[in-house]
Amino acid sequence: MLAGIGLACRRGERLVFRGIDLELGAGELLLLRGANGSGKSTLLRLIAGLIPPSDGLLLWQGKAIGDAEAYRAELAYLGHADAIKPELSPSEDLRFWLEMRGLRQEDERIAVALARLGLEDLGRLPCRLLSQGQRRRVALTRIAVSGARLWLLDEPFNGLDETSVAAIVALIGEHRAAGGLVIMAAHGAPPVPASQEIDLSQAAVSSLEEIE
């Protein structure tokens, strides 16, 4: 469903990675591993379409993705930052992002999704009062209710307690069982079974080598 051929990324003078091939079908989870700075986040942003590849081709259902709005409708992205407004409550924030995707969701569905990550009592508090872990969970709830088929998760378990990690593992499991795709960047061993792995430490090229 999602395929990458010979993906390369150059930032300024530095070649971050090159020759990355990937192919992901329904229900699969691709784990991106590698040391800090090896380009996991860069590859995720490249797959999201935020960074154009310096070389190579990214295909979604056999078609090259350019600035395709159809592709963007299929993906949900969780970056380093939680993208949460301190002035808004979690429910307001979630409702806004759902509306941006053209989905009109009843408040009830948002409440149910928040409850799954143990946020049921916090739905109406402004997010500035939430802890870092709680904000991360709000951001993950945004992914869970997005209805997107492809989840791009950058270190989703950072700063979370065991209960939340278990809840998110369950969410990812359900998403995959429903035919969803997940690409996750993580250092260390994340508590989810991966169907594929790419180790970017090996793909990284730190010199000023040229891309063909």
Partner: protein, 221 residues
């Protein structure tokens, strides 16, 4: 259109909850205008003829002051990534943000203008042309300013960069805005300067969001 309204409503709600941030523009506008009688003297024969120009310059500077806010918070907290990934054209998303920016800066400036005009002893006949020229000119300021705000993202001291990028582009608006006030005061026809302000707005309306969207995309790379 759901997304346009949703984003507009969210940005207005954020501006409302930030409270003082939004009010700062008006406070600056009034305070800066009040400085002129102190510096030039309270004589209405001196102040009256320059009041229109003073209002235009201070309104422009106040609008400039607020431009950094346009994308910076969303850029820093990662929300701009998600906006760029929304399944809608980024230029339309930028336009919604610009609309919210104008409603929270341009519109309040226009509302405060009669008060500032009276404080400066502007001739009564010049108030209406002043309001008309600001109504046509300030949306262009927000639109053009978005390009500078987008380009300054990711730059160190981006806030200082914006005026350098944007002020040259503001000049046509200032020139014809002031010309409209001048025409109104001297009893000449307002049509030509207002028509040109309108033309500038119509040109900026489709073009500026495209340029600003490209600048934002570039900043997110």
């Amino acid at each position: 259109m759901t997304y346009f309204v949703a984003l507009l409503r969210r940005d207005l709600r954020l501006a409302l909850r930030q409270g003082f941030d939004a009010a700062l523009v008006i406070v600056f506008f009034v305070l800066a205008a009040i400085l002129f009688p102190f510096a030039i003297g309270p004589d209405p024969r001196l102040l009256g003829p320059i009041a229109g120009g003073v209002v235009w310059v201070t309104a422009m500077l106040a609008s400039l002051l607020s431009l950094e806010r346009l994308f910076l918070a969303d850029y820093q907290d990662g929300a701009l990534d998600l906006l760029a990934l929304a399944p809608e054209p980024l230029s339309a998303i930028v336009l919604a943000k610009v609309a919210a920016h104008w409603l929270t800066t341009g519109l309040p400036l226009i509302v405060a203008t009669p008060l500032v005009g009276i404080l400066l002893g502007a001739p009564a006949v010049s108030i209406l042309p002043l309001l008309a020229s600001l109504a046509l000119g300030t949306p262009t300021l927000s639109l053009v300013g978005a390009i500078g705000a987008g380009l300054s993202l990711g730059a160190r001291r981006g806030g200082v960069l914006i005026p350098l990028l944007v002020l040259p582009l503001y000049l046509p608006v200032l020139i014809f805005g002031a010309a409209a006030v001048e025409a109104g005061t001297s009893g000449a026809s307002l049509y030509a300067p207002l028509a040109i302000l309108g033309a500038l707005l119509l040109a900026a309306l489709p073009l500026a969001p495209l340029a600003a969207a490209a600048a934002v995309r570039n900043a997110l790379r």
